[in-house]
Amino acid sequence: MSLNTNYSRSEASALSRNNLAYHLYRLMNRPERILGFLCLAVLGVLVLVPLFEIVHDSFVYQSYDLAYRPDAKVGAFTLFHLERVFTGPLSKALFLKPLLNSVGIGVCVTILGVGIGSGLAWLLVRTDIRFKGVFGALVVVPYMMPSWVLALAWLSLFKNDRIGGTEGMFTSFFGVQPPDWVSYGFFPIVICLALHYFAYGYLLMSGALATVDSELEEAGAICGLNRRQRLWRITLPLLLPALGSAVVLTFIRILGTFGTPALLGLPVRFYTFSTQIYASLNARNSGDAYVLALVLIVMAITFIWINSRIIGIRKSFVTLTGKGFRQREIGLGAWRWPATIAVAAFVAVTVLLPLLILLWESLVITPGEYSLQGLTAHFWVGESDTDIAYGEPGIVHSPGILTALWNSIKLGVLAAVCNGLFGLMVGYAAVRGRGTLLSRWLEGVAFAPYIFPSIALGAIYIGMFSTPWGPLPALYGTFTILVLITVVKNLPFTSRTGIAAMLQIDKSLEETARVQGIGWFRRMAKIVIPMSTSGLIAGMLLTFITTMRELSLIILLLSPANMVLTGLIFNYNEQDMTQHSGAVTLLLVMIIVGVNLLVRVFTGGAGLSGLRST
């Protein structure tokens, strides 16, 4: 029913004159809308615009193409970039091989990782294996560490003289060089990634297993199904949505990971998508890099869509009610101790062994000589000595390392705080505006960065911020761009915690403040923010942890003036300064584990489950 039918003609025209003022009043009355628009605008610039830029740049001649096509007109539409990557003579090297490698690694790591992770989850959640608490805590440590720590340890152990440089521990102890396929390339990449990402699968599956009601299995037993049949016909189908999720999400992560394929693949020119993007950008063939990044994004979107179809069609089979919900432990019987020992050995190999290797590596005075006599604390506390490692001092005295440490912490703290606040703002706008179009768009755009593989997002940001854009100056090479990209990448997680925190604050608590005359800014300061802090802290600490360990996201954006610990480690490794890379890695791991203990203190152990969203 149109409003005008109730008013006379003169009244209707008076009405339309007042319309603008009226709608402005209405908007002022809804601060969540104004905030929503602001957040959406900022996110649009930080997330959508770079994406469009890259798509645009892929289809248009750029200045660096003139080297290949001198008579091309910069800015004109072209399929040159696509041709070069997909159909040209270089496409095999640029696209097909990396594609096969990435997909091959992805499939193998996913099978291994999700398999191991699910198995561990089942053992630790559903059976009566011993030392559950200790194992539960230790099993996630590999995931907290950067994904390439294992690769570094592997190199220390198994590197051969293919790339020159010093000997690995294996050679030093056994006198024989490991073959190339063991030291570099497909095999070690798969192993190292699987031994890192299994923890991700564990986190996802243990959550799902913990919520499967054992009464459902008992009902199967009463119907006459034996243990194997129950597992096959009841438990597995119930877990299928979670399993599907774990498979898809792990696969997407593997596609975009940089560190391990770089450390173990580049020395033998074994390229994955991520390392090929890096190589192309280094060679100033940005066009190739952008096209590859787009392919990654399309693949990620496809898989996420598949994932949502798996979940969507079958919905979640997790039983959510508290009543009648029991978890009965499955007795392992004679297998109890063997299983416990096996898990302990596994934890030792994936958690303790790499750290020990790196520790040892950081203490040897002469690279390649691993005897116990040749140990020193020089790389930790020694002053500069031109005879040792190009004069680079130990950690405590090295300005480069200390600056990088400070930068890492600065980045982590800034990202955590900005993310916390921005996530809360997004949460406020999305929750208070629930049901409106604006709120749905906001939630959607805030989650979009989740689907961008890290390396692709880095490539996009190089593309967008290497030149000034509107009011924003060229941010490439600055600290600001590191903060921006970290905030954007973590936004899906923090906006989820922001929304969760806001849902705890009932609308009536704000409304009563409004009625008592308290304006919006004061309401936020006195009521909303104080009440959300505890919900946000765990989220912010987790952002800090993930930022500290991040490499794939920022490797393309780091510059010597803005170096962080992870980039520094990568550089040390390229220069074969193995002791320094080992020592600094250990430093990083100690910081991360330390902060994680903080998270546990704040959240009583609940914070770890948040890792599954990172």
């Binding site: 409003l3 009226y22 009536s508 008592q516």
Partner: protein, 364 residues
Amino acid sequence: MEEIHLTGIRKSYGKEVAVRHLDLTIAPGAFLTILGPSGCGKTTTLRLIAGLEEPEMGEIRFGDRVVFSRREGVIVPPERRNLGLIFQSYALWPHMTVERNITLALKEQHLNSREISERLEAALEKVQMTPYQFRYPSELSGGQQQRVAVARLIASRSSILLMDEPLSNLDAKLRTEMRGELKRLHLDLEATTIYVTHDQIEALTLSDIVVVMDQGEIKQQGTPYDIYHHPENLFVADFIGDPRVNRIAGTIRQKNGAIGLDCGDLWLPIAKDPPPNARDLIATVRPESIKVSTEAKEDWLKVTLESVQPTGADTILQARSENTSITMLQPGFIRMDIGDPLWIDFDAESLNFFDVDSEANLFN
């Protein structure tokens, strides 16, 4: 004290119309209750007055002050309407002490600290919560939390008080006690109070005026007495009264020179002259106005007892006369047996008659 006017107010949520064309005037200093079943639009109306929701059209005025007008394009936000509001959930801020809950708004208004502490003390004193002023809401019982919410209202010294089912979360005994407190508060503060509830006892005991709403419309507006004894339509007659009013359908006929309602087994006298085209009607009889006798009386209707429900001070009796079931309310704790005979009679003055189609009261 100001008069509150709502004119032509309409509010929908998407396709659902919560409040249809509402016209309501509230006299200054009145205690007005909006009464109705769930979903009738009473809370929406309260929130429209508070400014927490916006109507699509109409006008809301406090005295001369226009706080909402679609025509003039005026919207005054709730922060500037200067009212007091108690929520059903009390909406106490959990991270603040009782004292902070009461004084936060006063501090934000930049009142001087002496004024603030005077108001705080007076408010705490009134609700008898002085020893609890440094406790947190989670450390208080439901009744105590409610009193803090009331104290907040007292400290605000608003001249318009809005209350959204403030007693529904309390147990029965506390409810009765707090009912009296709220009325006293209204009188002490000399405020105009709008009270929303689905509980008719609260409505009848507290109000100067009761507004009965159903499906977004006002069904009747009047004093508790009017609502109870002269319902304007069947909905109001049905909704008010516990136990429920008796509904008996029948047709107008003449008998022995008098006009009455022929309801099959019963005959109900009609005291006034019905309008000429009235034929089929529904009569309502309040259970307590039926005359009951355990001894046979001439011209009285004989009924058979079906159930006896003593409630302490009264007893609800249900009896049957061939096709009609009748509920009666008699004082005292009555002990009778099912199947016992009773004789009943109807007092013409206590009957109300409603047209079958329009459901409107014939004689209002």
